[in-house]
Every structure is written in C-alpha cells, then in structure tokens.
C-alpha cells in the first residue's frame, strides 16, 4: 500500500519534472555565465583548469562554505561518537605481514601523489578536495594495515585548523591589501599552464588539501575506532 502511494506521488513529481526538463534541452545548455568563465577565465584567474578557477575564484565563497561543511561534519561526527562512553576492546585480527609492509611502503608515495593532485589543481582535473581525499586514503591504508597506529588527533586537528585559517587569511588579505575584495586573486597570475600560476589558487588548494585530508582521515578514524 505504501509502495503504491509512494509510486503515485513520485509519478506526479516526475510529470512535473518532464514538463520543465523539456525546456532544458540536453547537450545545449544555457551557459551565459559559464561561457564567460571559459572565455575570460584564463586572463582573469590565470588557471588553465576553468573548473578550478570557478571553484576557487568566481565561486570561491562556495568553496569556503564547502570546506566548512566538511569541517562541520568532521567536528560533528566526533561530537556524536565521542559521547560514547562504553567502549569495549574487541578482538581484532592483525593484518598480514604483506599488507603491513606494503602499506608502510606505499604510504609516502600516496601522500606524494595527493600532494601532486592538490598542487596541480589549476592545471589538471585535480584539486584540494581530490588531493585531500587521496591523502586521507593514505591514512586509511595505514590504519588498515597497521592497526593501532591511529593518526595523531592533535596533529590532524592542528593541520585542519591551519588549513582553514590559511584559506580565510588569504581571503582577508585580498580584502585588506589586494583588490579590496574578500578572496580576490591578488597575487600575480603567472604564465598559463605553469606550476607557479593562477595567483592564490594553488595556495588555496594546498590549504584545502591539507584540511580535507586531515578531516577525512579524522572522520574515518572516528568511524572505525569509536563505532563499536
């Protein structure tokens, strides 16, 4: 019965969706704003990856919000799980030597790779979030391979904080000294498609990378450790 009602309701909604989707032809979208980004993004922001220029310059404020959302989730998850008082020690199978050794071997490599991704965010499809996710996965791997080696909470918190503060600091620097706008790209734009280009974007992405990496690692750590 509930299914039938649900399906009926969804059909009504689908009907409405079809009506409006007919006005949004697939494959030829209305890209007035987007087209401007493509046309002028390189000059205005110096980033070869236009998505990055949108993410960190044109819509940088969204990204500030976005890292905040992640921060909220990380903090909130910690709060939810930390109230768990009755932690039991479980019998845990230790990882095999192969995994253990492999993880230790790969760990620095993955970190390097993460760093590569977030440093090249303005040149390649990477970016702070992707790089951060990779950094976090490195920690997850260590965690899986070497149980008991939890990430240092203090360290991750400090990195997390500093990442956020750097982002905001750069934004405020833009407001105070740069173009008089919050988050304005006040550093020299450099030559397109070189590492040192796009002004503040790489710096922001590095901050985001660190922040996201430590946050995701913390989230996963909490989820594994505190959820018995």
């Amino acid at each position: 019965m509930r299914s039938i009602i649900s399906i009926f309701l969804l059909v009504v909604i689908a009907w409405g969706m079809i009506t409006v989707l007919q006005e949004i032809p697939f494959g030829s979208s209305e890209t007035r704003v987007g087209q401007r980004y493509i046309d002028q993004g390189r000059e205005e922001t110096g980033a070869a990856n236009i998505v990055t220029s949108v993410v960190l310059n044109y819509r940088g404020f969204d990204t500030l919000g976005e890292i905040t959302v992640l921060f909220v989730a990380a903090i909130g998850l910690g709060a939810v799980l930390s109230t768990n008082r009755k932690k039991k020690k479980r019998e845990i199978e230790s990882a095999s030597l192969v995994l253990y050794t492999g993880c230790r071997f790969l760990f620095p490599l993955i970190l390097l790779f993460g760093a590569y991704i977030f440093i090249h965010g303005h040149l390649t499809p990477g970016g702070g979030f992707q790089g951060g996710a990779i950094v976090a996965s490195a920690f997850v791997l260590v965690y899986l391979g070497c149980r008991g080696r939890r990430i240092s909470e203090t360290g991750s918190k400090a990195v997390e904080s500093l990442g956020g503060l750097i982002f905001i600091g750069i934004g405020l620097a833009g407001l105070a000294v740069g173009g008089r706008y919050f988050l304005s790209n006040f550093l020299p734009k450099g030559e397109l498609n070189t590492l040192f280009s796009a002004g503040v974007i790489p710096i922001l992405y590095i901050a985001i990378g660190f922040k996201v990496g430590s946050e995701l690692a913390g989230v996963i750590d909490h989820l594994i450790e505190d959820s018995e």
């Binding site: 199978e93 095999s96 192969v98 995994l99 492999g102 071997f105 790969l106 490599l109």
Partner: protein, 109 residues
C-alpha cells in the same frame, strides 16, 4: 613503434579478458583469485605500458601507473585471499590438501 605499442596493448587486453574469464569459470575463491590476480596484473601492466609506448609523452606516467598496479594488485588480492582463508571459505571438491590447520597451529605458538 606504433605497431609494437598496439601489440603490447593487445596482449594486455587479452590477458585482462582471460583473467576475468577465470574469475567467472574457476571453481572456488582461491582458484579464482589466482587467475584474477595473475592475469589482470600482467594484463593491466602491459596494456598501460602499451599506451605509454603509443603516446611517448605519456610514457613515464604510464610506467608509474603500471608499476603501481603491479605493486598493489598482489597485496589487495592477498588480503582478500587471506580473509577468505581465515573465515573459512570452503575449498572446492577437487582440492587435494589443506594444511591451514598446521599453519594455525604454528600461528598459536
């Protein structure tokens, strides 16, 4: 060079396919994982390397990916196999010997 790359890639693709087929056909987890790991590792390695040869500017990066696959694939497969062994996923009826017990005895001491 182009032809060489194409052939290498082709061999890789072939092995990939065989590995996948093995996973489907072989009787139990352990046999499947044998086929899966060996063939896909080599298959992916060759396929990626072949592409690297076809696009010389990509070569080093392709090498890196290939090596990464080469390094990680046995580890992940090993982890899965070990888990299967630990939780006692049954062996197929063709199995002739299982010395896991002896190993466990060792493990205890």
């Amino acid at each position: 060079m182009n032809g060489f790359g194409t052939i290498i890639t082709g061999i890789g693709v072939l092995f990939l396919f065989l590995g996948n087929l093995g996973v489907l056909r072989l009787p139990d987890v352990y046999n499947r994982i044998q086929a899966g790991t060996k063939c896909t590792t080599l298959g992916a390695f060759l396929a990626i390397l072949g592409i690297g040869i076809l696009e010389p500017s990509w070569f080093w990066k392709a090498c890196l990916i290939a090596l990464f696959v080469m390094a990680t694939n046995p580890i992940s497969s090993h982890a899965i196999a070990r888990a299967s062994n630990k939780i006692g996923v049954p062996l197929c009826h063709k199995t002739v010997v299982d010395q896991t017990k002896d190993f466990k005895k060792d493990r205890k001491t």
